[in-house]
């Protein structure tokens, strides 16, 4: 069966120094939801733009349903839907007019379009607002209309670039439900996100990219297994105490605790048990934490666990250490799987 999406050693550089993609490869099985995770500036949007023919790659191969995005962009465009990073709606047009415009530009007939447009408006809860200019819409409504527009022409592969960024929690769940129902019908969805929670809920497979490189790939479960299910955050009095605490807590888990200033973080698989154990150890050492929190791992923690750096900190370092335009290109290396 043809893969829905294939990327092979894709490179894209902006200007001479900004390496948005530095040898990215992954593939997506048809009828699945695929998550592309990464911090801001990781290269997620660039990957989506190349796959949707909006940008051309410098080198490497990108195929959608077997069609090369560079040599057959027209075919690719007729197979895909894109909801980009901004809710790309014309705010002077009504919701219905926006859908109709996108449908006409997809060369659908008026009768087809009328039916499709009203069913999408209904599905996305926009029927009442259909004839209002979208400048009167809330952020969530715009985003829903944007996603609806990407679906007008029945795309077989749908690209959603951070579909829930900036949405309130209720709208976020609405978008999730919508994505799940699409996949149930056979559409392939590639979504980018900064939220591990979102990838965890939706994606069957995901890759984590940073600095334009794949640093991990697998199912959400394998990624989490790599880093522990929960994170124990301990706040200490001062940095010296924090270092002492980290040293003392070395035994509670296979992975060594990490220290940030006055905070100690422990990735754990069995939260409640380790909390009591950790507190017992600290008490024996005569250390009393000022704060204590047990939380779900964030994307930041995934990065921490994968790279040993905070996403932002690493990003800043990475920009400085990028090799010049003549520098050799490193082949991408798959992270742990």
């Amino acid at each position: 069966m043809t893969l829905a999406i294939e990327l092979e050693d894709l490179h894209k550089t902006f200007g001479h120094t900004v390496r948005a993609l530095d040898g990215v490869s992954f593939s997506v099985e048809p009828g699945t939801i695929f998550g592309l995770l990464g911090p801001n500036g990781a290269g997620k949007t660039t990957a989506v733009r190349i796959l949707t023919t909006v940008l051309e790659p410098d080198s490497g191969v990108a195929r959608v349903l077997g069609h090369d995005v560079t040599s057959e962009p027209g075919v690719v465009r007729s197979l895909i839907g894109l909801a980009g990073q901004f809710a790309a709606v014309d705010e002077n047009l009504t919701g219905a007019e926006n859908l109709s415009m996108v449908g006409r530009l997809n060369h659908m007939s008026k009768t087809q379009l009328k039916e499709r447009s009203s069913s999408l408006l209904e599905q996305f809860g926009l029927t009442d607002a259909a004839n209002r200019p979208t400048k009167t819409y809330s952020g969530g409504m715009r985003r829903r209309l944007d996603v609806a527009a990407s679906l007008v022409a029945h795309p077989r592969v749908l690209f959603l670039d951070e579909p829930t960024t900036g949405l309130d929690p209720a709208s976020r769940v609405d978008v999730w439900t919508m994505i799940e129902s699409l996949v149930a019908e056979g559409t392939t969805v590639l979504l980018t996100t900064q939220y591990l929670e979102e990838a965890d809920r939706l994606a069957e497979h995901l890759v984590v990219i940073n600095h334009g490189k794949v640093i991990a790939a697998g199912t959400p479960a394998t990624l989490k297994a790599n880093m522990g299910v929960t994170v124990l955050d301990l706040g200490l009095e001062d940095e010296r105490t924090a270092l002492r605490a980290a040293e003392a807590l070395r035994t509670v888990n296979e992975k060594a605790p990490l220290v940030y200033g006055r905070t100690v973080e422990v990735n754990v698989n069995d939260g409640p048990r380790i909390v009591t154990e950790a507190l017992r150890i600290l008490e024996a050492e005569g250390i009393a934490p000022t704060t204590l929190a047990l939380r779900e791992p964030s994307l930041d923690d995934v990065f921490l666990s994968l790279t040993g750096h905070r996403a932002e900190a690493e990003l800043a370092e990475g920009v400085e250490s990028l090799p010049g335009p003549g520098g050799h290109r490193q082949r991408h290396r798959r992270g742990r799987n």
Partner: protein
């Protein structure tokens, strides 16, 4: 999703991407018209913008007609007969900033990204914008004709030539729109698009024969002012609309090429300039549209 919409067409089915009726050209025109309609609807939803964009040219009419005009000598005829065709050209030239602002906004809002991922003609986004701006200019010219009449301007030739003059202005404006499309697609945002357009338009419209006869300018400036497109189009518009003597003739009379032809040399060269701008800048702008990295 409701049960009726679950059908997913296979690639190449008539629903998506291919042409149920007609070929490439048909769809290129259909796409352009879809984009034109979209922009025209935008104008009707924000009538204030169209209204207030007409205020500035009216101010210029009043300024030059009643404040500066008395000091500008135009022997043999009234200054208003000289002024109005120039104001028309200035109005459509400044109006073309609208093209750059509109496209810069489309870029900013992610619409260009969406359009580039659609199976539509690569020309349609720009052609739709410039065509909508052509309709806007038609409206503006009708309004300015009324304003001209109110301040004492009278057609010096006949209605047919006056309308030909308006057609010429619309052609020039359309060509400029394609040029300013490039500015809009190169600007980081719509505010900057407006600021970037100004340094191009200011010397073109003011170092021209739009408001004053060129003879009053220093020699080095006359060289530029005589040959640049705004002056050429102003002179042509004056010939067609006011029927004035031609003090700024640069090129050989068109009548010597086509004897007894209804058009004279200035009109010919105004058309050459407009088509030249269009032929060069339209492909450049489309290239910019296709290549713009965000």
């Amino acid at each position: 999703m409701s049960a009726t919409t679950t059908k997913i067409p296979t690639p190449g089915s008539p629903a998506v991407g291919s042409s149920p009726s007609g070929g490439r050209l048909y769809w290129a025109i259909a796409d352009m018209w879809t984009m034109t309609k979209r922009n025209l609807i935008g104008y009707t939803r924000v009538p204030e913008a169209v209204f207030f964009s007409s205020v500035q040219p009216i101010m210029f009419v009043l300024l030059f007609r009643y404040v500066f005009g008395g000091a500008i000598p135009t022997p043999g005829y009234h200054y208003v007969q000289f002024l109005m065709p120039g104001i028309f050209v200035q109005t459509v030239a400044f109006g073309s900033i609208g093209t750059s602002i509109g496209l810069a906004e489309d870029l900013q809002k992610g619409l260009i990204e969406r359009f580039r991922a659609l199976p539509m003609s690569r020309w349609a986004v720009l052609a739709g914008r410039t065509t909508a701006d052509l309709f806007r200019n038609l409206f503006v010219m009708a309004l300015m004709t009324a304003v001209g009449y109110a301040v004492g301007y009278r057609i010096g030739t006949n209605v047919g030539e006056y309308l030909a003059g308006i057609l010429l202005l619309l052609l020039f404006a359309y060509a400029l729109s394609w040029g300013f499309a490039f500015v809009g697609l190169s600007a980081p945002n719509s505010e900057t698009a407006q600021l970037m357009s100004f340094p191009v338009l200011f010397p073109l419209t003011f170092a021209s024969s739009a408001f004053v006869p060129l003879q009053t300018m220093p020699g080095w400036l006359q060289g530029f002012a005589k040959h640049q497109p705004v002056s050429v189009v102003c002179n042509a518009a004056r010939d067609l609309m006011s029927g004035l003597p031609k003090p700024d003739l640069v090129f050989p009379p068109f009548t010597s090429i086509v004897s007894n032809g209804p058009m004279n040399s200035t009109v010919f060269w105004a058309i050459v300039w407009s088509l030249g701008i269009l032929a060069v800048l339209a492909p450049v702008s489309v290239r910019r549209y296709r290549r713009r990295a965000f």
